[in-house]
Amino acid sequence: MRFRTTALPALVAGASSLLLLTGCGAADMTKQASPFANAQGAKTVTLSVQSWVGAQANVAVAQYLLEHKLGYRVDTVQIDEVPAWDALSQGRIDALMEDWGHPEEEQRYVADKKTITRGGDLGVTGHIGWFVPTYFAKEHPDVTDWKNLNKYASQLRTAESGGKGQLMDGSPSYVTNDKALVKNLNLDYQVVFAGSEAAQITQMRQFAKEKKPFLTYWYTPQWLFKKVPMTEVKLPAYKEGCDADPEKVACAYPHTPLQKYLNTDFAKNGGKAAALLKKFKWTTEDQNEVSLMIADQKLSPEEAAKKWVDSHESTWKAWLS
């Protein structure tokens, strides 16, 4: 019974010593790194990974260089884009390697609060669009223009789309105007949300295996094109500002030069790691090369990064200088 009578004081002592440890002043919520960072005296960098393989490729190469050329330890955390901005502003993660454009967050964190600093271009240009499998486009070449989509609605019907054709959308974290587009372009389609990129990819491969037609929201650069060749469907051309009103959108998605962002503290005091991440800039081909090794040849991200690093010395040497 002695344990029970001593438990309470011990608890109080524990709690108060924690309070002492945390200091009696204000607790700064912007300076709370991950508890796993800098363990055992190692210098660590925490990078966020988004759910697509392109983002994994960026992180894999950055991680490889940080670990093997600069002697850092790298922790990676998978978070969706918007929450990643929040985590970045609080220093829970140090850098976001690939951002597809979040004007609201940029205004709040970069311009107003200044807790996040721009890290420059990644060098890759992203583009969102509607795609059909190439085997289907070859059979019916006119399907690649939105004006003819209604003709094919009956072929693209599924149990989930009711009487209409199915336009498959993916993860709720991605930017999409598809519901508005279907309505404003008078298309006889139902947007069906796969709910996650994993589910969407699995479904596309399943369709492709049976050579069934499908219509999907998808984006480049993406490794899946090598596995399931797809052709983009032309939507009304994109003009600056045509997607300003989410209700009235009736045009294609823009081409976006992808951006990097760093936590401001880290950008200032991150030393060589921050300098490397700021200079990190490669091409769509480079990214696809690494992505393919990860997703298609099933190499681990580290092995894929090593292969790329070994054969592209001139590219990354410039980032280290």
């Binding site: 700064d28 149990a159 069906v192």
Partner: protein
């Protein structure tokens, strides 16, 4: 995780049937008066727009306020900030200790604790499990998860025990706490991940606190149950010795309740582990994050490699706390040679020796060569299964066709039917069901919960979700009863089922996401399939147990009267096991509802999708409304399926 805190209620005799008729008559009278009124004012099939409240604006404002003031407002600087710092520091401290002990130290320590608590067999199993985590290449993530779990479980146990202490000692506190604990248990974890992450920031602090919210209720319930259940005579005896209230509590009531307390700790650990993956969505790191990363590259093998350590940890901790509970209950003194302090001393010394020795030999990190790659064979197996089952199987058709038919013939009519019913008629149906099965209080709760859904403006979406839940529960109950009956009749089958059920119950739900889509295509059908897989084990277990506990003499007399096995089953066993079967249905409902969000990730749409959307886009309005609607659905379904006696029973 099934948390069965109720004891078996008695079956309803014929008298109650009369009361049921009375209740229905009363409802019919009330309806005759109210429905024409409601219909005249708000004549619409769906929930009337005039009766909704738009909460998105204030919620968006709240969320903006939090983000703008999080770094400067005293509430955060002097309150939430401290909590968050304390969590970070404690997790870090545990993590550093684990890293310093190295793989050998941790394995030796775990094995020796298991030896002290439960004997040699479990000790070997425990050590093997930890080595397996290393062999799968998951050592560091396992340690991160363990660090988070230690802090989360300790906090949940302390919080739960304090709440339970309050509820156990004061009837007023008990009454006040019960609805709170009820809500905490039906609340889907996704509903509060976002608010918690908003206040504490992404990452470990939010993950730990969300886990505490999720895992504390069983501890609180069982603590209170234990305190209330203490033997009256013992208490009187202690009182007659002139002890103070405090002494009575510390020397009699708490020690008498230790079995319940330990069961509470066990349940808390299980609940906390089941949060490990969900919490990775807000950046908890560790094993959950590996599962999540594996899934995003559609790599089931990698996700499974990270899930196995979670399952192993769950099984070990379950058996360990179970063994500790049995030892507490044992009346025989410990007969082993190294008992008490001496045994613990030997264990501690051995741990240190092993840790230091291996550290000197080859460091603390898991040796990089000692990794078995299981990802590839698993993926090959999955591909084979999908290739051969998806479509065109002779006679029965492929899984994709089943899914299509299930959607068109079951889910669509069910959804359209529910959405087509006038809103007031649904309220009436729920009121009638809940009142017949429970009391007027449960009926009122159920109706209010349903009405709240309408007021929040997500009536149609919630009915879509409801249709999926009902379909999943129906499938689960049919399968669960069938398997449960079979297991109750054959000890061998039950033994063979046990490990399968263990694995299904502890396997993170995210792992079935891809196989389910690969087999059933994107949509509501895979959502239902995922829910069935998750809820089935609990239903099977409760059914088997319920049938087994049927009075043997009743069975005996039936047999002596010459009843066939069929007659025995339908006329004796099943009627007598009715309370257990009702509980199985109730647990089925609660568990199915817990995976609605997973459904959202595979195309289930409706509330599940909204909850995921809210989290992914940091949209408090969408996420919180969807979460609240799920809670309301849960409360409603729980009340409609909950037998009366469970609620009136004291303490449970």
């Amino acid at each position: 995780m099934a948390t069965i805190t109720a004891s078996a209620p008695l079956s309803l005799p014929g008298v109650l049937k009369h009361r049921a008729v009375h209740k229905l008559l009363l409802i019919a009278v009330a309806a005759a008066v109210l429905v024409p009124l409601a219909n005249a004012r708000w004549a619409s099939g769906s929930w009337p727009g005039a009766l909704t409240v738009d909460v998105s604006e204030p919620l968006a404002k709240t969320s903006d306020w939090i983000i703008d003031n999080r770094d400067s407002h005293p509430l955060f600087l002097y309150f939430f900030g401290y909590i968050s710092n304390a969590v970070v520091l404690s997790v870090r401290a545990v993590y550093l200790v684990l890293l310093a002990a190295g793989w050998a130290g941790v394995t030796a320590f775990a094995g020796l604790v298991a030896w002290r608590v439960a004997g040699v067999r479990l000790a070997l199993g425990t050590a093997a499990a930890f080595l397996a985590c290393g062999l799968l290449g998951m050592w560091v993530p396992t340690m991160q998860t363990l660090a988070v779990m230690v802090v989360a479980v300790l906090t949940a146990v302390v919080v739960g025990a304090l709440l339970g202490l309050a509820a156990g000692l004061s009837d007023r506190m008990d009454r006040a706490l019960r609805p709170v604990l009820d809500t905490m248990q039906v609340l889907p974890a996704f509903a509060y991940l976002l608010p918690v992450a908003l206040v504490f920031g992404m990452g470990v602090p939010a993950a730990v606190l969300a886990t505490v919210v999720y895992a504390a209720p069983p501890m609180a319930r069982l603590t209170s149950l234990g305190l209330r259940g203490a033997d009256k005579e013992v208490l009187e005896a202690v009182e007659s010795l002139g002890s103070t209230a405090r002494q009575r509590l510390l020397t009699a009531r708490i020690p008498l309740a230790r079995k319940e307390l330990l069961l509470g700790v066990n349940q808390t650990i299980m609940m906390a582990l089941s949060m490990a993956v969900i919490a990775s969505i807000i950046g908890a790191g560790g094993l959950g994050d590996r599962v999540y990363q594996g899934l995003s590259t559609v790599d089931v093998g990698a996700a499974l490699a990270a899930s196995i350590p979670i399952v192993l940890l769950a099984v070990i901790l379950d058996r360990l706390t179970g063994a500790a509970g049995e030892r507490l209950g044992a009346t025989e003194p410990d007969q082993r040679r190294l008992r008490g302090r001496a045994g613990w001393g030997v264990a501690a010394a051995a741990t240190v020796v092993v840790a230091v020795a291996v550290r000197l030999l080859n460091g603390t990190d898991w040796p990089s060569g000692w990794v078995v790659a299981i990802a590839e064979p698993v993926n090959t197996a999955k591909d084979w299964m999908v290739d051969h089952l998806y479509t065109g199987v002779p006679v029965v058709g492929g899984t994709a066709e089943w899914a299509g038919h299930f959607t068109t013939w079951v889910l669509d009519p069910l959804r359209d039917g529910l959405q087509g019913l006038p809103w007031w008629s649904l309220l009436l149906i729920v009121a009638a069901l809940a009142w017949v099965i429970g009391t007027w209080r449960t009926a009122l709760t159920a109706v209010l919960a349903l009405a709240a859904i309408g007021v929040l403006g997500v009536w149609d979406k919630s009915l879509d979700t409801l249709s999926q839940v009902l379909a999943a529960v129906a499938v689960t109950v049919v399968l669960g009863f069938a398997i449960g009956i079979a297991a109750a009749r054959s000890r061998r089958l039950e033994r063979q089922l046990r490990p399968v059920l263990d694995v299904l119950q502890t396997m993170p739900q995210f792992v079935y996401l891809i196989p389910v889509v690969a087999l059933f295509a994107v949509g509501r059908a895979p959502a239902v399939a995922a829910a069935v897989v998750y809820a089935l084990p609990a239903v099977v277990r409760i059914t088997t147990q319920g049938l087994r506990q049927v009075d043997p003499s009743a069975m005996e007399s039936a047999r002596s009267l010459g009843a066939t096995t069929r007659q025995q089953l339908f006329q004796v066993q099943l009627p007598l096991a009715r309370p257990a079967l009702l509980l199985a249905v109730n647990q089925g409902v609660v568990l199915v509802l817990a995976v609605v969000v997973i459904g959202g990730l595979v195309g289930g749409g409706a509330l599940g999708y909204d909850a995921v959307f809210g989290l992914a886009q940091g949209d408090l309005a969408t996420g919180l409304v969807a979460g609240t609607a799920m809670v309301c659905l849960g409360l409603m379904l729980d009340r409609v399926t909950q037998p009366t006696e469970r609620r009136t029973k004291k303490g449970a």
